[in-house]
């Protein structure tokens, strides 16, 4: 028996046996040390030592084990630190995260329960770190590096969701494609850095407006962008697009190589989703792209709406 007790005392997790009045019958060294501010000795009553446990899940689990013989698991997510246990008796620290198992025991007509306590703070820390990294990677995979708005991959998934819920709800859905006019000559004249700066300014300005309205702006590629407008008819979307076009113009970014204006402008194409007319995701994108092309052909710096029956 001496050997068993020695073993329990060098164990790197906590073991405690309580009788049916919650008196400590046995506590191993690891657990005794972890009870930094409480002198948890055999013979002491757990609830007198830690009155804060009264009415908590830990007390209910111990009673259930003693009275009904039912075991319990107290996981760290649902019960962060059921017992006041601390690392190396550190006074400022929070109690460490614990995984506790409670099991009933019966010996010589007496009910006991055994508590097994593990310190899972490093598991929790590792998990949090992994979650943060996963979030960051997710964010990076969906964001356009230059402008900070949604990239094409994110646009695809956003539009797919919007199309699916439009089909379910039979509401309207519109899509705007726009493209900066004479962007290549702008770059050639002022350099790529100025080009990047120009794209970032326009997207930031429009994104501020769109966020307030609850719509998504995404970079489709190069100097081409798109806006998804759930619940908006193509006619309404055309009015909005005209507003966005004026906003780009009013930014008054000097353009030395444009033949339509002295400032940077953009051309807009608008399309609407024909729910119930076997319209598709690709159909919606192609219509908007085609309308944008026609806006370019008709002299740029304008909005063109795709025909409804296209």
């Amino acid at each position: 028996m001496k050997l068993f007790e020695k073993t329990l005392n060098i164990l790197q997790s906590g073991v405690m046996i309580l009788d049916d009045e919650l008196n400590i019958v046995f506590i191993n060294l690891w657990l005794q040390k972890a009870f930094a501010y409480v002198d948890a000795q055999p013979g002491e009553n757990l609830l007198s030592l830690c009155p804060e446990l009264k009415g908590r899940r830990i007390e209910a689990s111990l009673r259930q084990a003693l009275d009904s013989g039912l075991p319990a698991v107290l996981s760290p997510v649902l019960n962060r630190s059921p017992l006041p246990l601390y690392h190396n008796g550190q006074s400022q620290a929070e109690p460490f995260a614990q995984m506790i198992r409670v099991q009933p025991m019966r010996e010589e007509e007496q009910n006991y329960c055994m508590l097994e306590v593990q310190d899972v703070s490093s598991v929790i820390r590792r998990e949090r770190l992994l979650n943060e990294q996963a979030d960051k990677l997710n964010q990076m995979a969906l964001t356009d590096e230059l402008t900070g708005i949604a990239n094409r991959r994110h646009f695809n998934s956003l539009l797919e969701k919007a199309v699916a819920s439009t089909i379910d709800s039979s509401q309207s859905l519109s899509l705007i494609f726009f493209d900066i006019d004479y962007f290549k000559p702008y770059n050639d004249h002022l350099g790529h850095q100025a080009g990047d700066h120009c794209l970032a300014r326009i997207t930031q300005h429009l994104n501020d407006i769109l966020k307030g309205e609850g719509y998504h702006l995404a970079r489709y590629g190069g100097e081409e962008f798109c806006i998804i407008l759930p619940g908006v008819s193509p006619a309404q979307a055309t009015v909005l697009a005209e507003n966005y076009r004026q906003n780009v113009e009013r930014l008054a970014i000097r353009h030395p190589a444009s033949s339509v204006a002295k400032v940077v402008t953009a051309s807009f194409g608008v399309s609407g989703f024909n729910a119930g007319k076997s319209d598709t995701f690709t159909g919606l994108v192609l219509k908007a792209d085609n309308a944008l092309y026609r806006a370019k052909m008709s002299g740029r710096n304008q909005v063109i709406q795709a025909c409804l029956d296209e």
């Binding site: 075991p71 319990a72 698991v73 107290l74 995984m99 998990e127």
Partner: protein, 199 residues
Amino acid sequence: MKDLTALELDALAEIFNISVGRSASVLSELTGEAVTMSVPMVHILSSERVVELFAISHERLTCISQQFSGSFSGAAMLMFTESSSLEVVRLMLGSQVPLEQLSEIEQDALSEIGNIILNACFAGIADMLRDSFSCELPELMTGDIEHILHSGGSEQKVLFLQIKLGLEQRNLEGYLAFLMGSETESMLQQSLSNFLSGM
């Protein structure tokens, strides 16, 4: 062995309703979310029939099981389809994990949720039987229904309950299965008829 009567099944449903109701309030307190639970129906099925019931969907199940023994012995299992179990974790723990996998600590949390529900049911049965039985710690497993039922032993009758779980306006469904040997089944029937005649 005669089948349980409608009256006996109703009595069982009532006992389980009270039990899961108790565990719902424990879970509400733990998670800070409004949790409701009810048991609309209790069935006694052969294990083949349970396999058939789940075979249609082909969905994998997450199961929290506890073995119990005494005058009454077998295995109790709380089962969710894998997608429902992820919803339970997402709604109860507020975690935004990718839906494909549960981390170690979320699995522990799911074990605890199952443990709370199963313990409440054990306590309800023990009250009715005026008896206690010993019980093991919960184990979590995933797999298809055949794999899960097989882990509890074969050729058994299953006391099968559907559990309706309400969480944040979402309605989820879980299943509770008590795998019993034939002796356990007749014991249960005996205690039920004692219980009913004593009422």
